[in-house]
């Protein structure tokens, strides 16, 4: 533990990112002890109230308490990101290791071609296509939203993990393992995986970021369950009721700050892990 703390002192982006994410997680979990969940939904309080001791972040036009909304919405949005990111990194790891290990095979060419195509497609438009056709928007709660957002979150991890595995598989210790007749599965799990752990963690942060961007964009258009006070949906309502033309700064401030904090923490974590994974990137003088 002491070693980790000492390392984080040398790697401030990782420290700041993890710290920020921890604060946000605490806000979403511990915050629940101080709220009445019903206040996050329409008609719970007096509408259009600026921040006060009773309503820390103010209330919106539908009479939702924004503090309660932020606590619940932060949890929901982080959950959506976590689901999309885990699915993305799960698929990315399986495909990345297979294609990287069997680079040059037909399977590799097919999967790599698919990855290239998916990476060229503009993610947001594909998500719009899928979400508007497949689902009744009112059923798009946290889990389905995370699953849909993962559609565009797997391709990049696949490509970058494949590249890492390809450089790794020619290393002497992998050769040694092969010569000692270790099975392919064991080589991947015991020799390659542990060496790529920081890299996988970095890809996870990236995939969560990608999934969040996807779901936030969909919600920004009002695609999703509009009853849920997720961060993206709050932004949608801000625009829907033109909060900016009515001087309701608190209604804009809360979700914008929350979104920027979440995304910034992920970028910081990913930058910090990049330094762990590729010591040569350490640009700090």
């Amino acid at each position: 533990m002491g070693g980790i703390l000492r390392y984080i002192r040398r790697n401030p982006s990782l420290g700041w990112g993890l710290g920020l994410l921890l604060v946000l997680l605490l806000f979403a979990t511990v915050g629940r002890l101080f709220i009445n969940e019903r206040d996050a939904y329409a008609l719970a309080t007096r509408p259009d109230q600026p921040p006060s001791w009773q309503h820390l972040f103010g209330t919106d036009t539908q009479g939702k308490d924004l503090f309660t909304g932020m606590v619940i919405g932060m949890g929901m949005t982080l959950m959506i990101g976590a689901i999309a990111g885990s699915i993305g990194i799960g698929i990315g790891t399986v495909l990345g290791f297979t294609t990287g290990y069997y680079a040059g095979s037909i399977l590799d060419s097919v999967i790599t071609a698919i990855v290239d195509i998916v990476l060229t497609l503009p993610g947001f438009f594909v998500l719009v296509l899928i979400a508007s056709t497949l689902a009744d928007p009112a059923t798009l709660n946290v889990v389905p939203m995370g699953v849909i957002a993962s559609v565009t979150a797997w391709a990049y991890p696949t490509r970058s993990i494949r590249a890492q595995v390809m450089t790794m598989r020619e290393r002497p210790f992998v050769m040694m393992a092969k010569l000692s007749a270790m099975s392919t599965g064991k080589i991947i799990v015991r020799e390659l995986m542990p060496n790529l752990l920081p890299y996988l963690a970095m890809s996870l942060a990236g995939a969560v970021y990608g999934g969040l961007m996807g779901s936030l964009s969909l919600e920004g258009l009002g695609i999703g369950n509009r009853r849920n006070p997720t961060l993206g949906m709050t932004i949608f309502w801000v625009n829907y009721y033109s909060a900016f033309m009515r001087g309701m700064w608190w209604w804009i401030l809360a979700p914008v700050a929350a979104i920027i904090l979440v995304l910034t923490s992920l970028v910081l974590i990913s930058m910090g892990l990049d330094e762990v994974a590729n010591p040569r990137v350490r640009t700090r003088v």
């Binding site: 071609a113 290239d116 195509i117 990476l119 060229t120 497609l121 503009p122 993610g123 947001f124 438009f125 594909v126 719009v128 296509l129 899928i130 508007s132 056709t133 497949l134 970021y209 961007m213 936030l216 964009s217 920004g220 258009l221 009002g222 695609i223 932004i235 801000v238 625009n239 900016f244 033309m245 001087g247 700064w249 804009i252 979700p255 914008v256 979104i259 920027i260 995304l263 910034t264 992920l266 970028v267 640009t283």
Partner: protein, 336 residues
Amino acid sequence: MALRYILRRLGFLVLVIWAAATLCFILPHLTGRDPIREQITQRIATMGLSGDAAQAMIDAHKRVFGLDQPLWKQYTIYVRNMLRFDLGYSISNYPKPVIEIIQESLGWTVRLVGMATILAFLLGTILGALIGWKKSPKFLNLLVPPLMIFSAAPPFVLALVLIYFLAFRAKIFPLGRAFGQYTKVDWSSLKFWLDYAYHAMLPAFSLILVSLGTWGLGMRAMMVTVEGADYMTFGEEKGLKGVRLFFSYGLRSALLPQITGLAIQMGAIVSGSALVEVYFQYPGLGTRLNMAIQTFDYYTIYGIVFFVVCGIALATLLVDLIYPLLDPRISYSKGT
């Protein structure tokens, strides 16, 4: 052979466009219901279309998409139609063809995104290079955190903040739309151009703010690596002027990954601008897409998405083809 590379790249373009068309065909079939037909019948019920008009609408769709044919034939007809940009008719604005809707709104989007991207690329690259440059004043480093935060945020979220402060509070810019409410669209009058530029500034600003960070931080990182290179030390020893060293030695070689970045970022840029358009009520493709989504106008949704995919795939291809011309070290002559 360069020719082989170009052919391979063209083949990939075809593959991407085919994939997009196939996705548009498969998705409605996956639902197990027929969302398009549901919408049409619902519309007939609510709008009280006469039986004849309704039948005409259904027949038109049947004819264009060969809906009475077996599935594989429907698929080939569909892909062929899409490739000719015969994208069907808008359900909510029937009998307007989808391609006409795209033609009306495309220009607004291309001008906005094009200008914003070029400006952000130039500004961000120069700014990033300056931040990364050893001899620059130290205070430039203070720009790094804000650049990072802006680049992490989705542009439409920043747009809300800009609208509140610059349009509502300070009243410097209009709240939205592409031109004044009482202005006539007239590309030959200077007054219209000024009004148009005035309205485009804030949406462009929110797009620029986001990509400025992407280009700036990328360039800064590249500049730091380039500075360690031997030819830089050599240039310095030769006693070259700082300006020359910065532009011809540093900037030029650090620039190349930025151009690859442009090809990769294309999709994200257009996605971001689609939402910014919605939040500014800007009459481009993004706003039309949003209107189609809100009214379940499936043909318009599919048409716009397909069109955007084609546009981005083409733009990426162009960047990829220009790249070897810029970097004399890369030639696609050997086996690549």
